[in-house]
């Protein structure tokens, strides 16, 4: 077990040694929050917001786009190991191969968790509150980490199968529009575009945003939280298992 933990710990250590993806994710999220709050913050008096201030309404966008940065390329360790060829050297150790997929993704998940905590902490400084206290905080952290694991697992799988770090980043970029093709800036009742209404209905991030808004400000219904977890847990699980499978079946 000890060698496995050593390997897992390496991924986490690398996260701190080269924290650029983490900082980029955080920077992008803060940018979105500041810009959209500045541009649209005045509309939160409308009834559809159910008394929620616009910054709180917008915060799920920050949390979900955060994972795009922190989980891009399934973490710095996997990307750099593949690019440098060190991955081959790891293959010459007695560790199970699936661990080479799992380790970096787990580190990514922790990275997303940490960055989410920082973003929420920053929000608190500017007046963000949690409707259900600690339960809200834990729920938000869990949801954003699951989203991060899903993205990381998916891009890790592509990277392991293609041995190309660029290809994996493309996967994360393809997921990026999902953050905007939902009730990102306005409640559903205020969206006029029929195509966006249709797309958002099938977008897995719609229940995520609703769940996060419920946890942050009590907007909507509690069942959205259950729905979000029911959707995101299997998505993250399948994605991580796929990456483990891709690592396991690799020949050096």
């Amino acid at each position: 077990m000890r060698p496995a933990f050593t390997f897992l710990f390496r991924g986490i250590r690398q996260l701190f040694h080269s924290p650029w993806s983490l900082l980029m994710g955080l920077g992008t999220s803060i940018f979105f929050l500041v810009v959209y709050q500045a541009g649209m913050g005045g509309i939160d008096y409308l009834k559809a917001f159910e008394g929620l201030d616009y910054m709180t309404f917008l915060y799920p966008l920050g949390l979900l786009s955060l994972a795009m940065g922190t989980a891009s390329g399934a973490g710095p360790s996997l990307a750099s190991d593949i690019e440098s060829g060190y991955f081959q050297r790891l293959f010459l150790s007695p560790l199970p191969r699936w661990l080479f997929g799992f380790g970096p993704i787990l580190a990514d998940g922790l990275g997303t968790l940490l960055a989410s905590l920082l973003l929420l902490g920053l929000g608190v400084l500017f007046g963000l509150s949690f409707h259900f206290g600690l339960s809200s905080l834990l729920g938000l952290l869990a949801l954003s980490s699951l989203w991060g694991l899903f993205l990381s697992g998916l891009s890790g799988t592509v990277m392991l199968l293609s041995r190309d770090a660029g290809g994996a980043r493309a996967v994360t970029s393809l997921a990026f529009p999902l953050v905007f093709l939902t009730e990102t800036f306005l409640p559903r009742e205020m969206i006029r575009s029929s195509w966006l209404l249709v797309v958002s209905r099938f977008n897995p991030l719609t229940p995520m945003m609703r769940a996060m808004r419920f946890l942050l400000g009590g907007m909507g219904e509690a069942r959205q939280v259950i729905l979000a977890f029911a959707l995101m847990v299997p998505m993250a699980l399948v994605s991580v298992l796929l990456a483990c499978w891709a690592a396991h079946r690799l020949e050096s």
Binding site: T6, S84, G85, Y86, R89, L92, P94
Partner: protein, 246 residues
Amino acid sequence: MAIITAKAVEKTHKSGVHALKGVNLELDAGQRLSLLGPNGAGKSTLVRILTGLSRRDGGVLEVNGLDPSSHPRSLQEQIGVVLQEDCLDPLSTPKSLLFFQCQLFGMGKGQARHRAQERLHDFGLQAHQEKKVGHLSGGLRRRLHCALALLHAPTILFLDEPSVGLDPESRQDLWTSLDQVLQSMGTALILTTHSMEEAQHSTQDVVLLVDGQVGYKGSIQSFLQGAQGLEQRYLDWMNEWKECNT
């Protein structure tokens, strides 16, 4: 006693190239063997199969009593491999890479620190132990590869063209260190190389692999048949083989 037994090993790459055509090979404990042959003969493919990095398509194979395809993890605990590729983490230091590798092999922190220092000393890397791997010269990187491969005192070392691209001095330094460590550990060696000088200096036996088949196996001494050097004898042998096969 044979520690490697390969019988009729077959491998066809995804591209359709039939890389190994029924290769038979044996290696005894402590034996040193060179695997020679032209580019594309299947040397690296054979090494990858023997080390569990690739799967064979047919034949029987045992390395230290283990089938590399079904026991790749247990096998890694018993063998050391230096690949042709420069597969090192450029941002790590030699010291941290060796320490980490020791831990991957299950050593505790104290033992890992001690073993890492031992190999740094064995391969003359002590003065460079805190430098980034990406800043090391080619010669030092090859030495680091060898140090990594020998960290866990394997019973067999596979060296796939270890001195390619090295100047004569670096090559000599590398082999001086390697000879000492291999001798002290009694490790068997399979060396693939295009340098006949290296093969003659470092090993006693030779296997000539041509077009995925074993063309010759035996001691270097008997292969030489009174010829002055291995290189000339190898070239003559290759010409004879081509004539016989056209």
